[in-house]
């Protein structure tokens, strides 16, 4: 089992990534309480202290290798979040989600950051199967998984479409084709 250390950092493709810590609570709260950005995620109520306590609890799961929550930085400024959770070390599977970027960030930057997190999951952690639940109403992200990521749609619930990716399916992904796209903003 390849766990990440609490001070894990990566600088790749011009983006810096590290694990969330309690001092990130204001940034996490800002993004997750934005009605525009987080409408399809669990909307935070804007309480920074509550978020800090959530991160404190998360750190315990992180230490056990159950969950990793990342912050993306560009030129020293945080611009996004991404989380790997439900990590199953027996089946080498995980769920990815809570992907959110500040408004106005270039599409290519948000996609590149997602690529880096997936590389961490596969290359650093040695995980193989990714599960993704996407709210049916979140049409942009549904289309992104179907048309660009080329994820396998394996089911649905009342609220979500259920996708997965495997090493084989990822060969069909077009994600890396679009990393150079300029600003427009992907409403994740």
């Amino acid at each position: 089992m390849n766990r990440l250390s609490p001070d894990f950092e990566l600088d790749r493709y011009g983006i810096q990534i590290r694990l969330v810590c309690e001092s990130d609570a204001p940034f996490v709260t800002e993004l997750r309480s934005s009605q525009d950005l987080a409408q399809y995620l669990h909307l935070a109520d804007g309480d920074v202290e509550k978020q800090r306590r959530w991160i404190e609890e998360y750190k315990k799961r992180e230490a056990e290798g159950k969950e990793y929550y990342f912050v993306y930085f560009k030129d020293g400024q945080p611009f996004g979040l991404h989380r790997l959770y439900n990590i199953d070390w027996t089946h080498l599977s995980f769920t990815s989600g809570s992907w959110i970027c500040k408004k106005g960030m270039p599409n290519g930057l948000c996609l590149t950051a997602a690529v880096i997190v997936m590389e961490i999951a596969y290359d650093n952690l040695g995980l193989l199967i990714e599960f993704i639940d996407v709210r049916k109403e979140n049409e942009n992200i549904v289309r992104l998984h179907r048309d660009v990521f080329r994820a396998i749609e394996y089911g649905e619930t009342e609220l979500d479409y259920l996708f997965l990716t495997t090493p084989e399916s990822r060969k069909n992904s077009r994600l890396k084709r679009f990393l150079g796209l300029p600003a427009n903003g992907i409403p994740v």
Partner: protein, 79 residues
């Protein structure tokens, strides 16, 4: 299937449109042709014609008609 049929099918599938709605169609001219839809369209066209478009062409692909013009660079003549 002709090149025109493949080209139209990529648009219709990606943007959930009828062929009659394609002439004159521009980026952001229909609800689904936004930044995410644009990536889906390019991916579907690349599959249909077995090509890899250059990033400049992906960015320049601003309309149904402009796309036909750009595909000529890849030896694809669309009707």
């Amino acid at each position: 299937m002709t090149n025109l049929e493949k080209y139209n099918q990529a648009f219709c599938t990606t943007f959930n449109l009828e062929e009659a709605q394609l002439a004159g169609l521009q980026y952001q001219g229909t609800e689904l042709w936004d930044s995410v839809g644009h990536m889906g369209l390019i991916a579907n066209l690349e599959d249909a014609f077995d090509i890899m478009m250059e990033m400049d062409d992906i960015i320049d692909f601003s309309s149904y008609e402009k796309g036909k013009e750009l595909l000529k660079k890849y030896d694809i003549v669309v009707g």
